[in-house]
């Protein structure tokens, strides 16, 4: 029997994607990390620590919420996995707690991280504060201006935020810069990558750390007697919340749906390429220069996608669609008004697809689980500006 979302091969490949495309200077660190993770992930003491921290500090398990009103409106059974209720407001905490613990296990005292809108940066700063690690966050200069409050939040948490002035001054450049800096301090410093991207073992490791949400959701639906949903749906930037969700359902009958931003749809409009240490689907020009993604949500403003998603798309185990900025704004408002949950703009992509496709690609009566990957508090000011300028 074919099974899905297994471990990658010894060099970190998911089919023809993934791998490890990094400077030689970083290879030892990647190898050390892989070994440390493999070892930790098989060590009950580590697992206990990880689960205890996520439970007692991170707020796990997060609930699954049934949406009465929307279900009725849409003619489907709609459930939400509530990662917005995790500490710091999104699924990002699952990953950073794992990597911060691993940092200590490797005897390192510091983490660096990249961030776009700031969610992963805040989560990283949080985990570092909790575990007594130093933390430096690389953030595109443009993003530091757009998200000044998140910069301050990281600083309150004791982190140093470094504005990145190269390239487009956004997330993709923050990753480049974090990699460059990592080269200079691999001895003491772990690079705490924020999604299922980058060189092996990151895509695999981050998926494993995020799989807690998918496994939780599967058993919560089981306990409620809902059983296996017909579809599980998640938004996709790098793809970590989607990977975590899919991991809980990959070997079930559920259809796996990833929803990208229309302007950052690496599967939809990208082609295979190599960036940030991985071979995956990328948005690039006809001569192979990487292009900027464009999306209303900073967290999906990434021209690539995690390699395992490229693979799952390739073998058609998962399907990837996209949602436009306008649909996303509508979806955010609809969920808020009918269910009392203001979702993150990222998350609203998954919802927008469900709202658009209910009764179309989603047969009426289907049971659909959407990963509510984060809360919208961070986005409220931006949404207010946009709606005001439209009216």
């Amino acid at each position: 029997m074919t099974t899905y979302m297994n471990d990658p091969d010894a060099l970190g490949h998911f089919g023809s994607f993934g791998g490890r495309f990094v400077p030689e200077a970083l290879m030892p660190a990647c190898l050390e990390l892989e070994e440390a993770f493999r070892d930790a992930w098989a060590d009950p003491t580590f697992l206990d620590e990880y689960h205890d921290l996520l439970r007692e500090f991170g707020g796990r398990p997060t609930p699954v919420t049934y949406c009465d009103r929307l279900s009725q409106n849409l003619g489907i059974e709609l459930f939400l996995k509530r990662e917005d209720l995790a500490h710091t407001g999104s699924h990002k905490i699952n990953n950073v707690i794992g990597q911060a613990l691993l940092t200590k296990r490797m005897g390192k005292s510091r983490i660096i991280a990249e961030t776009g809108a700031g969610q992963h940066g805040v989560a990283s700063a949080t985990a570092a504060a909790k575990l007594g690690l130093e933390c430096t966050v690389y953030m595109g200069e443009l993003d530091t201006q757009r998200q000044a409050l998140n910069v301050f939040r990281m600083e309150l948490l004791g982190a140093t935020v470094r504005p990145v002035t190269s390239g487009s001054k956004t997330l993709k450049d923050a990753v480049n810069e974090a990699m460059r800096e990592w080269v200079t301090c691999v001895d003491t410093t772990h690079y705490c990558l924020g999604s299922v991207m980058g060189p092996h073992p990151f895509p695999w490791m981050v998926r494993e750390f995020q799989s807690i949400l998918g496994r939780e959701a599967a058993s919560q639906l089981d306990e409620r007697g809902v059983g296996t949903p017909d579809m599980v749906v998640a938004c996709v930037g790098g793809g970590s919340n989607a990977a975590g969700l899919f991991a809980g359902f990959a070997n079930s009958t559920a259809r796996l749906i990833g929803v990208e931003a229309a302007g950052g749809s690496a599967i939809g409009i990208g082609s295979p390429g190599v960036l940030h240490g991985m071979r995956s689907m990328l948005i690039q020009s006809d001569v192979g220069q990487i292009e900027e993604a464009h999306s209303i949500s900073a967290g999906l403003d990434y021209p690539g996608i995690g390699p395992e998603h490229a693979f799952l798309a390739d073998i058609a185990r998962a399907e990837y669609y996209s949602a436009s900025d306008d649909e996303v704004l509508d979806a955010l408002q609809l969920l808020s008004r009918l269910e009392g949950i203001i979702p993150a703009l990222e998350t609203a992509h998954a919802l927008a697809w469900v709202f658009r496709e209910a009764g179309k690609l989603i047969p009426s009566g289907s049971t659909v689980l959407v990963n509510l990957s984060g809360r919208g508090d961070k986005d409220v000011a931006q949404v207010l500006d946009i709606l005001r300028s439209q009216s």
């Binding site: 495309f21 400077p23 030689e24 200077a25 390239g167 200079t184 691999v186 295979p272 960036l275 192979g288």
Partner: protein, 257 residues
């Protein structure tokens, strides 16, 4: 053995320390003149940097130069086009990131490189684990794959890199991306460890900024690579004359080693 191996061994066997300046191709209209000037001033080979949108191994100076080149519309093929008419009589080694070759196609890229007169490549984000298909595509065209060793590379890995590297072994003087540095870093150590497992020429790069540093490195290595210091001068407005002067200085320093 590729022809790059042959040529660079003959430099070494002639008792000469190799000097390899680095240029960002397409930085200005007259960039080929800069290459010519460098060769005129005594370069033994030239590293041709092909600008990429996301230069993960490069510091701010080379990033800036690459940005300028890209905004000028420079592409891999436009560079190769210009190079095909540039016959400077020393080996040219292309340095860029893997995506450009991956995107164009490996066979096609290697063929285009060779057609442009390039005999080696340095692809810093392509470690030995992922090297296979690129190296065979290159070797089919007699293009060498120059590999890097870093201060962090463990001995067992140094051996493997050493055995796979062609033309020379690129010994990174420090744990850093390209850029200026105030000392010689770990260059001597790295070179020594490379020498334990082979007899290929070993060149030092990453942070060699001054003639003094070049001289020191040439004391234990077979060659030195100078990038940022040169690109910095070009960004500062110096032209071919400046290149000739600076490369000349470096030449004299190395020869004095």
């Amino acid at each position: 053995m590729t022809s790059l191996d042959v040529e660079l061994r003959s430099v070494r066997d002639g008792g000469r320390k190799a000097l390899v300046p680095y240029f960002v191709a397409g930085l200005s209209d007259d960039w080929p003149d800069h290459v010519r000037a460098a060769v005129h001033a005594g370069a033994d080979a030239v590293e041709i940097g092909i600008p990429f949108s996301d230069p993960m191994m490069d510091g701010v100076v080379i990033q800036e130069a690459a940005d300028i080149a890209l905004r000028r519309g420079t592409t891999l093929l436009s560079i190769l086009d210009e190079l095909s008419t540039l016959d400077v009589g020393v080996p040219l080694v292309a340095m860029t990131y893997y995506n450009l070759f991956h995107h164009l196609g490996l066979e096609r890229s290697a063929g285009a490189l060779r057609a442009a007169g390039i005999s080696g490549t340095i692809v810093p984000d392509l470690p030995i684990e992922e090297l296979g298909s690129w190296q065979s595509a290159c070797n089919d065209q007699d293009v060498a794959c120059v590999l890097m060793v870093a201060p962090s590379t463990p001995l067992e890995r140094v051996e493997r890199v050493n055995s796979l590297s062609q033309g020379f072994v690129y010994a990174s003087a420090r744990m850093a991306v390209t850029g200026a540095a105030s000392d010689g870093g770990h260059a001597a150590d790295v070179v020594q460890r490379v020498r334990l497992s082979g007899d290929k020429p070993v060149y030092v790069g990453i942070g060699i900024t001054t003639p003094k540093q070049a001289e020191t490195a040439a004391g234990f290595a077979d060659g030195v690579i100078v990038g940022t210091a040169l690109v910095q001068r070009l960004l500062g407005g110096e032209g071919a004359a400046g290149v000739e002067a600076f490369v000349g200085e470096l030449r004299r320093a190395i020869d004095a080693a």
